[in-house]
Symmetry: D4
Subunit: 142 residues, 8 copies
Amino acid sequence: MVDELDLKIIRMLEEDGSISFTEMARKLKLNESTVRKRVLSLKEKKVIRKFSIVIDPAKIGFSTIAVVGIDAAPDKLLEIAQKLAELPETRYVATSAGDHMIMTEIWASDGRELSQILSKKIGMIEGVKKVCPAIVLEKIKE
Amino acid sequence: MVDELDLKIIRMLEEDGSISFTEMARKLKLNESTVRKRVLSLKEKKVIRKFSIVIDPAKIGFSTIAVVGIDAAPDKLLEIAQKLAELPETRYVATSAGDHMIMTEIWASDGRELSQILSKKIGMIEGVKKVCPAIVLEKIKE
Amino acid sequence: MVDELDLKIIRMLEEDGSISFTEMARKLKLNESTVRKRVLSLKEKKVIRKFSIVIDPAKIGFSTIAVVGIDAAPDKLLEIAQKLAELPETRYVATSAGDHMIMTEIWASDGRELSQILSKKIGMIEGVKKVCPAIVLEKIKE
Amino acid sequence: MVDELDLKIIRMLEEDGSISFTEMARKLKLNESTVRKRVLSLKEKKVIRKFSIVIDPAKIGFSTIAVVGIDAAPDKLLEIAQKLAELPETRYVATSAGDHMIMTEIWASDGRELSQILSKKIGMIEGVKKVCPAIVLEKIKE
Amino acid sequence: MVDELDLKIIRMLEEDGSISFTEMARKLKLNESTVRKRVLSLKEKKVIRKFSIVIDPAKIGFSTIAVVGIDAAPDKLLEIAQKLAELPETRYVATSAGDHMIMTEIWASDGRELSQILSKKIGMIEGVKKVCPAIVLEKIKE
Amino acid sequence: MVDELDLKIIRMLEEDGSISFTEMARKLKLNESTVRKRVLSLKEKKVIRKFSIVIDPAKIGFSTIAVVGIDAAPDKLLEIAQKLAELPETRYVATSAGDHMIMTEIWASDGRELSQILSKKIGMIEGVKKVCPAIVLEKIKE
Amino acid sequence: MVDELDLKIIRMLEEDGSISFTEMARKLKLNESTVRKRVLSLKEKKVIRKFSIVIDPAKIGFSTIAVVGIDAAPDKLLEIAQKLAELPETRYVATSAGDHMIMTEIWASDGRELSQILSKKIGMIEGVKKVCPAIVLEKIKE
Amino acid sequence: MVDELDLKIIRMLEEDGSISFTEMARKLKLNESTVRKRVLSLKEKKVIRKFSIVIDPAKIGFSTIAVVGIDAAPDKLLEIAQKLAELPETRYVATSAGDHMIMTEIWASDGRELSQILSKKIGMIEGVKKVCPAIVLEKIKE
């Protein structure tokens, strides 16, 4: 799978995905081409699925963040998860073995908009039986 | 807050955080210095909190991913959330208004290791009363 | 939004909505016209939505007060909330992110009448799947 | 208890607590002194507990409204309800026979402040074992 | 309603419904005709709804006693309660404001027979959505 | 155990515990001494545990009837059930395998008195962790 | 039913179902024909339902073991249990009086396959309303 | 791991653990020594953990079978699971990520004995906070 050096590189990139190969090489006391090869290999093997950014939803107008558990008709479970993934309003979709079979994260400007999304977007997907939103009060680590 | 152009830039960077200013400028039909200024401004205003990578936990040896709800003694809620954030085993920590007051995500190599983390790391934090793990079966969107 | 003086006036009026401008002015050591202007402004800006009274339901024949959580078909959530608001039997209707997506307060003369309202009025609204009444034992603060 | 005329007066005052006796008398086609006597009697018999105002919390800076269920050590139930009623942060406190023995309504400026109130104010009351907040998304009727 | 003497008579009859008027009169230091009149009056006013016996279900072949909560389609709540009351297998039926809107007690010879009753008798009533049996382990007081 | 005739006698006595042997003999087309022997035998074998009466709680001043689930410290389960049985306020006590390990029925004059009993009587028993009252709205069969 | 010697034999066979009659006889200080007769009798009376083996699912490729509670349409309860028993994917099926009316154990190669089984096999059975999987982290005793 | 032939042998032994090598060889159309080697290898690799028997609990006097969920103090989770495994009354113990962190199966002669085991054996283990028994009504597949 991956070795100790790969894990160090991964941790560095999680902390700062814009770090240069030069900087990584310096910190790891390796030459730049070694680091470059490792990163490329991690991307090819899909260990690194993508480079991305972490944003603060409140600062782009989303003051209501909800983790929503969804009860689905069991025979439509996978189709519903797929349709949720296609909605622009969902940030994250997973099937899980817990209180609810599907979990998704929604960003809304306020409670009123969240109600609208739950009822008019998610509730309209065939087979969705119940939506159980939990409002995120504060993200401590991400 | 942010305007339509900022949102376009954010969406591009979420999709590919390693995209160059040149490439973004080309796609947006703007000159590179405009894009560069916007991105810098988004970072300064902490709209973009950090550049990062999305990795596939299974490929670095974590086959058991759990979203764990935590019941905490109410008077220790914030301290517990803080201590959880400091554990290397947690990927994410938030307080929430739902089934549980704290939610955290744990990556473990298997069920046995997850039991160990829940009991010997999280369970040892003073004020943690109950841990309720939900195993993620499949991530559909992230 | 509002300043410290507005908040003082609001608190006074919550305590006694029939207090005169003269009395308020005396307590706040301001002249009456200042107080009058402030109150009018709070009403115009809809900070004060209405003047009302708080009554004791037991004294007008309602001995059974219930806070009722309602599970609704997700695609009919907003219509159901609207129809509940139109029933004379409901005192309060809100959508919420908790155990139930809709919460409403019902006043009934006794348990038998409450059963009737839940089954024959609320249960008849299309899309209502489950009604979960919690009986209020004693109001301590209101 | 009360008769049909009393109920009409109560409904009028719930709709507009600042209505004058003259106006009520006109609408009810009665003389003003009859109305005045009735209202005084309703206040004396504590049918009308107080005159008050209904305000819009968002307009005075409270964007996060939560109905909080509280699990209490059973032997401290009544003391806890009493202490909650004394906190300025609670708008409403009642004991109930439902999911939780105590229900209270909290107004906070945002999720972060709500976490603080739940942990540092309510959680500090001796005997409070668990706090279960449900965020109000939208009030439809009040 | 009833006075202190009525309550004493009620308690005596609850303890032993076959006690004679003579015996009751002796214990209460009253003459027999007073007691007789009181008991007749309690029956006429339906304070005493009936004389009955308390039996031990295990001794007549019922080893599995279940208190069954029933989730009903809200608009059929009262009809379902009525139909349950007509089934010979139910010992007790009530509507309630708790986890379930209807509660009933079933006596069965064993777990297999209970499954049959739940599925083939109760489950067949239109509008019954979920049956939640709790097995009684031991009756301590009755 | 018991035969078909015993069951007929039991059903008759459940319906009317004050029926005379003569009347039962007439209905069953048996002679009175056979019936008398059977009833005595059923009492001796404790099939019939006692003769009793069924009363209407509302008519002796109890307007609030609650079935209360009790969460108990597991090591004190049996002692708590025993202590509950000794309280005059409980009508019924059983251990069960369901949502709660102990179920009890309480009769109170109103919600306020029920709160008092739950907090000041039941809550004071050592090891009682949580009390979960469900209010009976209407008894349909008993 | 069975005597003390039968129970000893049963315990031995549960520990090691491949033990020889000779070895059992030696340990029990009995002659071999006595042991043989007892075992045959236990099989004939169906006390011993079958000889079997206990296997380690992880070692044959099943890394995700789930105990799945199933909510069923009450009128189809027994048919659903029967159909589940016929699926090769289920290891165990029982009706129960607890959180769910049916419990079953599923072995899957990973979370993705479990989702498929829940949705495409179990969810397709008519009358299955909800599936609630709990992942087994570690079997301590079996 | 294992191949198709191993799986066939495992299925045969699950169905009848007392089948002879000769019989297995005949059914699989292989020679006996091949089958013998495979079975020995499966035992050595601990794929087959043990040979055992499946018994009918009702026929050895256990009429009450319960699957018991256990809420444990998180920091004592693993010790409690270990202590439960040592109790002769438990048939099965596992940690799980579901409603409860520990699940165990108990066989008792009746409800009264089950109460005793839950309170006097399991409840006495330090850190056990709540026991939630579900009674098995009927085993359909095992």
